[in-house]
């Protein structure tokens, strides 16, 4: 059964083409001539992808064939965009991509039997919370734009929330797998509302509440939104109780109102979202520039390398603040237009579709919930940042998975991808084994 891997191989071809074409376009823009270097970049990228593909062929022959090419496509796309902003950043990002693939391979190697994760769920939850807390720890914590998002250990800098999300999802999936039955059966109706049994919900609420608290503590609103949505999604999938989701929403609205009126940082974010023009040169600058950049795009965009990121002349004002991270989507709209941006959104939707398909095919509860949680948190992250820069929701800084510049983001997302592929490979292998048994049984008759 090598057909899955063959499909993966074929799917990698457009990735290489896109990367080469993208780099060539940026080169043409920068140097007014086609550089041979773009081909080298494309070849290098393709070689790394091929190596990964061969590794998958050996280790996970049955895994979903489209997820890796889709992720590679987004990464290639991100590399081109980042290269277009700053060649040095692109080199960093390319290194992080390779490092991400190494962790990807290591995850696949060591977590082949990923049930082990279930055994250590409280340890994992603790690690997740510690990661969230770390930016506030003296000595290593760093504050960026009013939020404590980064950790710096020696020369290494990383964003712990990116890894923490995986830890929390693993914990939630594992916990819900064990307690979902009692959550459903033990539910009681009070005043017409179905309430979950608090006893069984308790530990989960503690972990989840702690993570929400940490997020507010480190002022990472985007991640808190993402964590919350993933939590509700998992709770719903595990229990099938819509009322739990409604209760969660009510709790969220209450919490949001509470924080919006007590934490100035939150209040300001919401205010900017509603009235960006009030402080067009101040707090509203980023979201307004993000939208103005999108307005430049039109249907087909201005082309690679054509968008204005900094104002020409002195002083060098940023026209699109955080173009390589938060607002990279707006840059995509600017340069590739509505069509390009829709393409990117559809890629995320495709990844979500494959991820949920893995969850559907998975035979045991933990695999199902883990795949669902990982996919949901990934898709919601994309929604939070794209929605943020498009003024669908308040703008909060999370990365656009695989595209945004940032080592932690790309490495963490490749680990997430590795877990999804592990689940996929197991369920499909079991399926194949079952099919073979059935076939043998039929022959024997």
């Amino acid at each position: 059964m090598r057909s899955a891997r063959n499909r993966e191989l074929v799917a990698l071809v457009p990735v290489a083409l896109l990367l080469t074409a993208g780099f060539a376009a940026v080169f043409a823009q920068e140097n007014a001539r086609m550089g041979g270097l773009s081909l080298i970049y494309g070849a290098y990228f393709l070689a790394v992808c091929l190596a990964t593909h061969i590794y998958l062929r050996i280790r996970l022959p049955q895994a979903d064939p489209y997820l890796f090419p889709l992720a590679a496509l987004l990464t290639a796309f991100g590399l081109v965009m980042i290269y277009r902003i700053d060649a040095t950043l692109a080199r960093d990002q390319a290194n992080w991509f390779v490092f991400g693939l190494v962790l990807f391979a290591l995850t696949i190697h060591f977590l082949r039997d990923y049930d082990v994760l279930e055994r250590y769920r409280y340890t994992i939850a603790a690690v997740g919370l510690l990661l969230l807390l770390s930016p506030r720890l003296p000595g290593i914590g760093q504050q960026v734009n009013g939020a404590y998002l980064g950790v710096k250990v020696g020369p290494l800098q990383f964003q712990p929330t990116e890894f923490s999300k995986i830890c929390i999802v693993i914990f939630l999936a594992s916990y819900l797998r064990e307690h979902r039955e009692v959550l459903i059966v033990g539910a009681r109706r009070v005043l017409g509302v179905t309430l979950p049994p608090l006893k069984h919900l308790g530990p989960m609420l503690v972990v989840w509440g702690a993570s929400m608290f940490m997020l507010v503590f480190i002022r990472d609103l985007g991640s808190s939104l993402m964590f919350f949505a993933a939590f509700l999604a998992l709770l719903y999938v595990a229990t099938g109780r819509f009322s739990f989701v409604v209760i969660g929403m009510v709790m969220f609205l209450f919490g949001a109102w509470f924080f919006a009126s007590t934490v100035p940082h939150v209040e300001a974010r919401v205010d900017i979202w509603l009235n960006p023009y009030k402080e067009a040169q101040g707090n509203g600058y980023q979201i307004l520039q993000s939208i103005f950049a999108q307005a430049e795009g039109g249907l087909f965009g201005r082309g690679f390398g054509q968008a204005l990121i900094t104002a020409p002349g002195e002083p060098h004002t940023a026209l699109l603040p955080a173009a390589e991270t938060d607002t990279i989507y707006s840059l995509i709209v600017d340069e590739l237009g509505l069509f390009g941006a829709t393409g990117v959104i559809l890629l995320y939707l495709l990844i979500a579709a494959r991820g949920f398909k893995i969850a559907l095919l998975a035979s045991d509860g933990f695999s199902k919930l883990l795949a669902t949680g990982l996919t949901a948190v990934f898709a919601i992250q994309a929604f939070v940042i794209i929605g943020g820069v498009s003024r669908v929701i308040p703008l909060t800084g999370v990365t656009l998975p695989f595209i945004s510049y940032g080592g932690s983001s790309i490495v963490a997302n490749f680990v997430l991808l590795a877990l999804l592929l592990l689940i996929s490979d197991r369920s499909r292998s079991e399926e194949a084994v079952t099919a073979r048994r059935t076939a043998l049984a039929m022959e024997g008759r």
């Binding site: 067009a280 103005f292 690679f304 949920f356 498009s390």
Partner: protein, 484 residues
Amino acid sequence: MNRQIVQLFALLSLLFAVLIGFTSYWSVFDAKALKDNSANNRPLLQEQQLKRGRILAADGSVIARSVALGHGSNLRYIRRYPEGALFGHPIGYSFIEQGQSEFEQSHNEELVGTSSEFGSILDQLTGANQEGDDVVTNLDPAAQRAALGGLQAAGFGAVVAIQPRSGRVLAMASNPPFDPNRVPSHLEQLDTNPDSPLLNRATQSPYPPGSTFKVVTAAAGLNSGTITPETTINAPGSLEVQGQPLQNDYLQNFGPISLDTALTNSVNTWFGQLGQRVGESTLFNYMDRFGFNATPPIDLSASEVGKSGIFEGENLLGPGAGIDLARVAIGQERLGVTPLQMAEVAAAVANRGRLMKPQIWSRVVEPDGHVVKRLKPAEYSRPMSEKTAAELTTAMEGVVREGTGTNAAIPGVAVAGKTGTAETPGNATCGGGAAENQGWFIGFAPAQKPKVAIAATVECTTQFGNDVAAPIFRSVAETILSGK
């Protein structure tokens, strides 16, 4: 759990659809409004990085060009106007901070080289940088110099010179002028200057036309069949109209005279009666044919081109508004006309009754010399028949040969024209003096094969049109005739 997973996916699809919806709104549906938003300086910054095309005079000399400052990502262009104030009107200015005006504004798309969506895809593939096209105008620097110089010697006012058969604007001057190079540093000062140097008087000032309007009345009379060149009307020294005396200069009684004599001597009582005979609706009809009551079809943005007609405050009056027809017929009442409109009147007579659309631009040329677009002269209207135009020309020749407009005469060339001197006593813009006139001359030369039609006017003068405006006409006309 599978059902819930599918539902979750459906919800996420919905959320992603919302993202696409918002993106389409910003990038396509609301894009125009966002680009025009005052908080958005991207379009300006982008334009500043584009090499805006040059604006050239008809002889190829440079009126406006962009010079590069800085390089690399710091590269930007700034506009320079080598001729200074000479072409301040009608070319205007274009700067990032101060915006654009006049020709620079109305021809922005060509100058920037704004390309279509599909064009830009092609550019992306070829890696071509957008570069603006040059726009060549019909403006004749020598004529422009004569027009502005003449005005600067005579007073505030305006001159418009048009090639009758094509509508090409050969000169358009407004005094006081402004030097567009000074706009970046002195815009506020220019803007608040009580003399309004930024106002293009040629297209925006509704001046009282005085007797030059008699050309319109005569065209209406002849072409509608109300009179022939032989028809005589008794022209006493004074005539009571609507309870007020309507008088000839020095109360001169001309007796029964025909059009030639009446126009040559600018007889008010004769034209007042002609206006009444023509009737209100016919006179309005002919005004409309000449382009009154509408924005002149010139290639400037409509907000910078004023209409001509009978004004009640800011509003234009139509038939049935109780106007004094006899006084309209001689250019009084509440008539307000732009110099451009009066140049069109002269040009229509000159071009055998066919009024061409006045145009400043001549052709659009790509940086490599390829002509993208060329002006195709277009007719705006036919206010009168060829016969009427010929008859009117004969009468207008009399004005210059032996009548009120002798200062417009050019040796060896037959000139057709009409003077005007509107009395504007107490005109606030002139300082409220009692003897403030609006002096006019409109005409064309050579009378039988016209090469140029001109309207020249000077505001707040104590002199007559023949003394103050006709010499400017002559100087500009001579310059143009000697040049070809």
